[in-house]
């Protein structure tokens, strides 16, 4: 992969050749549709997001935001259309995409019966990059879970689970971070903390895709926005 | 589908059992030895069409043969009917699932 560009091209969409070496856009959707059972959650969506530019995803519940993020994360595949992430095909190069993209979602991927620390250590070891397990403690401290590292997740509140999910995301050091309601279930203090963490991520060159109802924070963190209604792009 | 096949099997078994009460009794006695013998020695095959190979140790049993035909034909009719009931609607005439 080419190194990510520090230059932030302005968000007008399609043409992204103004980036330096990073010619590949972060996300390239071409006529993407996704069907669940008989319902079309996304319909003919085409969109390009350059690397380094961060995207605010808005829309009502059920408008297709979560589906879009899950598609971009490659955890599911589109029914129709093609999808390229960081220049890689989301189907054929699935594994390579996953090494650079993380998804922070409502379903936060934790094992309820393992402790916060065991959960993160598992992720670090499975990723297999050297030095990752050593970072676990620092990250748990950073998200404010230091006192509860050895409690099983089953005893966590919703906000603490969210914090743990953020630590998991930071551990994986993504080039593209997909954040589905990152501020949900957090107290005001937590929201401020998360916003700071995300601003830091962004300053380090990570492309953010943020789906949130907190427009104020969302707009501060992003450069572009995409509004979905009934699985279709509106603005 | 499965249900009626099961029912059908049950009904036919009943019919066949009723029809062949006497024959079945005789067959039950002859049956075991017959099958074992048959496994060992086979008669020299007849090459002339229509000629009887032998009378057969097991006499009668036509009701079982008829039962097999009834099961097969009933099955065909019912399955064809089920295909017709499920035929795709709104297709151009002539290509629909009429059989």
């Amino acid at each position: 992969m080419p190194s990510r560009g520090k230059k932030r091209p302005l968000p007008s969409g399609i043409d992204t050749n103004d980036g330096p070496l990073s010619a590949a856009p972060a996300i390239e959707l071409h006529d993407v549709s996704k069907r669940f059972g008989a319902r079309w959650a996304l319909a003919r969506l085409s969109y390009t997001l350059p690397q380094g530019a961060s995207l605010l995803l808005t829309g009502h519940n059920g408008s297709g935001k979560t589906t879009l993020l899950r598609l971009v994360s490659t955890v599911t595949a589109p029914t129709l259309g093609t999808l390229k992430i960081l220049g890689l095909d989301a189907r054929a190069d699935r594994m390579k995409v996953r090494e650079q993209v993380t998804l922070l979602s409502h379903a936060n991927f934790h094992y309820e019966d393992l402790t916060a620390k065991q959960n993160l250590e598992l992720v670090a070891k499975l990723r297999g990059a050297p030095g990752l397990p050593a970072k676990v403690d620092g990250l748990l401290d950073k998200v404010g879970l230091k006192a509860r590292v050895d409690s099983p997740v089953r005893q966590f509140s919703a906000g603490m689970r969210k914090r743990l999910a953020v630590a998991r995301m930071l551990l994986l050091q993504p080039k593209l971070a997909l954040l589905d309601e990152p501020f949900g279930e957090l107290d005001p203090q937590g929201i401020a903390q998360m916003e700071a963490i995300m601003a830091e991520l962004k300053a380090n060159g990570t492309t953010l895709v943020l789906a949130t109802h907190l427009l104020e924070q969302g707009k501060r963190l992003t450069d572009v926005s995409l509004h979905l209604e009934n699985g279709r792009q509106v603005a | 589908m499965a249900l009626w096949l099961l029912q059908l099997a049950g009904d036919v078994a009943q019919v066949a059992a009723d029809a062949g009460v006497q024959a079945a009794q005789a067959a039950a006695d002859a049956g075991t030895t017959a099958a074992q013998d048959a496994a060992q020695a086979l008669p020299p095959p007849s090459s002339t069409p229509g000629q009887m190979v032998g009378r057969g140790r097991l006499v009668g049993g036509w009701e079982y043969v008829w039962a097999s035909y009834i099961v097969t034909w009933t099955g065909i009719v019912l399955y064809a009917l089920s295909l017709w009931v499920r035929r795709p609607k709104g297709e151009a005439p002539g290509t629909g699932g009429r059989s």
């Binding site: 595949a77 699935r94 996953r98 993209v101 998804l103 934790h110 019966d113 393992l114 297999g128 | -």
Partner: protein, 227 residues
């Protein structure tokens, strides 16, 4: 990447860790299996000769019923919080998930069979004629044979409607060859192998296990990933 085998072992280790941290569930499974054996012996009545003759069958039926619970459970923990999606995104090779899960289910079933063995001996008055190592080996291969198709089908059933009904419905008929072979082999160990049949039954069981570990390894990614 820590390699296919490394990831498999990590998945296995994780499953065993969860199993250990939820020991209450494990105990419930063991009691369920013992209760099944007890029920069989009640249903059979006090005919000792018959009980001894069919002991191997009841032991494996009890294990089979318990395996439905443990297989379902091993994928329930993955659907809580969509943990399986999380594993896929780390990323973990789906084949490593298959190997890890199947090894975990094999170990659990093997452990269960070893726990049930003394109960069987006590309830049905059997003797181990051909030696303990043979028996323990048969239990291991038998557990392997049940776990491989079990893991694939549990993964499918865990995403479908009415998963609790679906899993045994799909799995029982597939497992009949393995069940016949392992029951026969166990029976021969209990009653003595006068006609030297144990080898052919073990060969059948081994073939079954190899076929399904291979098939599972090849097909599991299709079950897990959208294509």
């Amino acid at each position: 990447m820590s390699g296919l085998l490394g990831q498999s072992l990590l998945v296995l280790r994780k499953d065993l860790l969860i199993e250990w941290r939820t020991r209450a569930r494990l105990n419930a499974l063991i009691f369920f299996a013992i209760a099944t054996l007890l029920l069989f012996s009640f249903a059979l009545g006090p005919d000792t000769v018959m009980m001894r003759k069919h002991a191997a069958g009841y032991l494996w039926l009890g294990l089979l019923f318990s395996s439905m619970l443990s297989l379902g459970e091993s994928f329930r923990i993955e659907s809580e919080n969509l943990a399986m999606d999380g594993l896929k995104l780390i990323p973990v090779d789906p084949r490593a998930i298959f190997l890890g899960k199947t090894m975990g289910n094999t170990l659990l079933l093997w452990l269960l069979s070893l726990v049930l063995l003394p109960v069987t001996i006590a309830l049905f008055d059997v003797t181990v004629t051909l030696g303990w190592p043979t028996l323990v080996g048969i239990f291991l291969v038998g557990s392997m044979a049940i776990s491989a198709p079990g893991t694939v089908y549990a993964a499918i059933a865990s995403h479908a409607r009415a998963r609790d009904v679906l899993l045994p419905l799909l799995l029982f008929p597939i497992l009949i060859p393995a069940l016949l072979a392992v029951v026969k082999a166990t029976h021969l160990v209990f009653e003595g192998d006068l006609m030297d049949q144990l080898k052919s039954w073990m060969r059948l069981l081994g073939c079954f296990a190899i076929i399904y570990w291979t098939l599972g390894f090849l097909l599991f990614p299709k079950v897990l990933e959208d294509d």
